[in-house]
């Protein structure tokens, strides 16, 4: 496998431009300038990594997001940084020929390829709610993971379970870490993840031949370290207590904080506030809709999306903690008064 430097040479890129590229990349990855020589060495020596990108129960929004990446462009990633050997969405080949190719890649690059998983396996009906090549996707997943160097869990499906795992989870869909237990898994949650976050993760893997630093949930710290709320351009309005009360009201036109119409920014870890979507063009809050928390575990079951605190399922009642709490305190006080009166009467009379 050829190195980045060789690839660049082949394209007629000068050494000088190559070093410039390395410096830019170093800055983009948030590394100190002292890391430049390492980056240069990485670009000179690391071969193109074979990637198998398999699809389970999903909606392909992750693949769609991936190709929206502008820095790096998806074409540069797919054709020059990695070698995308199997992908349901982009591979030219189909059927048996492609399945054979997958098996061959696993054998040839045993221990050296990256497995990227979009979607997740259903366990119900022996996994036959998702069939690939006449077999359960579950088997395909286990088989493909065995020889992988590392596994990327694309999106909230692979990371947490996402929409098909929302109650009542009819197919018993599970996140991939329930099935793959002996490999390092990089979770890249979001529905879908931000394009530049996806290519950023691949870039890190390729450049440094290592798993990016992960948080306690298994997410890359450089992309999921902060809450959207703490990086939001509307944060000043939150601090000031200036809130949108209703969609398209005066506050909405002024771009005030969406906290009161259910924004999940305060509890969602993602790069929407800083990297934003489409290379910084916008993100849901900028378009006036609160964050729905799509990068968080079980966010579907924390609906309704337009309320701050989740309710408990009481028939025909919107039961948020504060409503129930206020009623319970009032009941406790009333009970106490009644109890007191009876106690007084009961304890009357001689000793």
């Amino acid at each position: 496998m050829e190195t980045f430097w060789e690839t660049f040479k082949r394209h007629g890129v000068s050494r000088r431009d190559f070093l410039k590229f390395a410096t830019t990349i170093t800055g983009m990855m948030g590394l100190s300038p002292s890391m430049i020589p390492h980056v240069v060495r990485a670009l000179e020596t690391k071969p193109r990594v074979p990637v198998l990108w398999i699809h389970g129960l999903e909606c392909t929004c992750c693949s769609e997001s991936f190709i929206r990446s502008a820095t790096p462009l998806a074409s540069d990633v797919v054709l020059s940084m990695i070698s995308l050997e199997y992908d349901d969405t982009l591979s030219a080949a189909a059927g048996e020929a492609l399945e054979k190719h997958r098996e061959e890649i696993i054998k040839r690059y045993w221990g050296n390829y990256i497995l990227a998983v979009e979607g997740n396996p259903p366990l119900g009906e022996d996994g036959m709610y998702c069939v690939v090549g006449g077999r359960a996707f579950l088997e395909n997943l286990k088989e493909s993971a065995k020889g992988a160097k590392a596994v990327i869990a694309w999106g909230s499906c692979a990371s947490w379970g996402c929409v098909q795992a929302a109650k009542p989870n009819p197919t018993t869909a599970v996140p991939i870490h329930k099935v793959i237990t002996d490999k390092p898994i990089i979770k890249v949650p979001g529905c879908p993840p931000i394009a530049e976050v996806m290519t950023g993760v691949i870039m890190y893997l390729v450049l440094f031949d290592a798993i990016p630093p992960l948080d306690s949930q298994g997410r890359p710290k450089q992309f999921y370290g902060n809450r959207i709320h703490d990086t939001c351009y509307r944060r000043a309005f939150f601090n000031a207590g200036q809130f949108v009360e209703r969609f398209d009201d005066d506050g909405a036109k002024k771009g005030w904080c969406l906290y009161k119409v259910g924004c999940r920014g305060p509890t969602t870890y993602n790069s929407c506030g800083n990297i934003r979507w489409y290379n910084g063009l916008s993100y849901p809050i900028q378009a006036g809709h609160g964050c729905i928390g799509c990068a968080e575990e079980d966010f579907w079951d924390k609906a309704p999306f337009y309320q701050r605190l989740t309710t408990i399922p009481l028939p025909n009642v919107e039961a948020s903690p504060d409503k129930v709490g206020a009623v319970a305190v009032a009941a406790a006080a009333a009970g106490a008064v009644a109890h007191g009166v009876i106690s007084k009467i009961r304890n009357k009379g001689g000793k």
């Binding site: 207590g241 305060p266 575990e297 701050r308 605190l309 709490g325 319970a328 106690s343």
Partner: protein, 234 residues
């Protein structure tokens, strides 16, 4: 009938802690309610960045909440320390292994359901119901401190607090759920507080035993020798 006896129950440290605890919980509760649902808007017509000069903002209320949180944490630690040095302050856990706990539990249940009169039966430094609930309250306060500082700490992912407590958020089903938990338990503490105040007043009204003032003076009057007197005497 033996002489009524004044017994020294609450150490000065405990009394100070009790009132600080009361005040911080009240501050935390009401600021917390606002933070969860900002029912009045901050200064309008002011540039958001400079709103802090213009009256009560979310930022100010949150600051109060966080300061009160630190006070709660400090007072909780103080409470633990005095318990280490003073036997009187270790009266925390229900003595379920002792027979008098179960006798007390039976008696207090009968009294509160109006079957027994309050002055009948034995006397206790602390009845079994109180002994059962106080440790739960300590646990609830600890829970509030832990979840509160976990959420607070995560605004700086490399901070001490997120290192110490960050894992808790994932453990409790994500930060969004932790917010809800933080609210549920806050209300439980307030329900406890309401009932606590009621039972203190009730005790005072029926027995006139100085229950109400004991948290200021430290002394309470007993007509009989309390069964569990050994728990507070050296």
């Amino acid at each position: 009938m033996i002489e009524a006896k004044k017994i020294y129950i609450f150490s000065p440290g405990l009394r100070v802690w009790h009132w600080i605890n009361f005040l911080t919980i009240m501050v935390l509760f009401f600021t917390g309610l606002y933070i969860g649902n900002p029912f009045f808007l901050g200064p309008v017509g002011v540039e958001a960045t400079y709103a802090y000069r213009e009256g009560i903002t979310m930022d100010f209320i949150r600051k109060v909440h966080f300061i009160a949180g630190y006070v709660l944490l400090a007072s909780f630690l103080f409470r633990v320390i005095i318990a280490v040095f003073n036997k009187r302050d270790r009266l925390v856990f229900p003595a379920v292994w002792r027979k008098d706990y179960w006798t007390s539990l039976k008696e207090i249940t009968l009294k509160y359901t109006f079957i027994m009169k309050d002055k009948e039966g034995y006397e206790y430094i602390r009845n079994a119901l109180a002994r059962t609930f106080y440790p739960l309250v300590y646990l609830m306060i600890l829970f509030m401190i832990a979840t509160g500082f976990a959420m607070y700490g995560m605004s700086k992912p490399s901070s001490f607090w997120s290192f110490l407590l960050g894992w808790l958020l994932g453990f409790l089903g994500g930060e969004f759920s932790v917010h809800a938990w933080h609210h549920w338990v806050a209300w439980l503490i307030i329900i406890f507080a309401v009932l606590h105040v009621y039972f203190v007043i009730r005790e005072e009204a029926i027995k006139k035993n100085g229950e109400l003032s004991s948290m200021f003076s430290g002394y309470k009057v007993f007509e009989k020798e309390p069964v569990d007197i050994k728990d507070i005497e050296e």
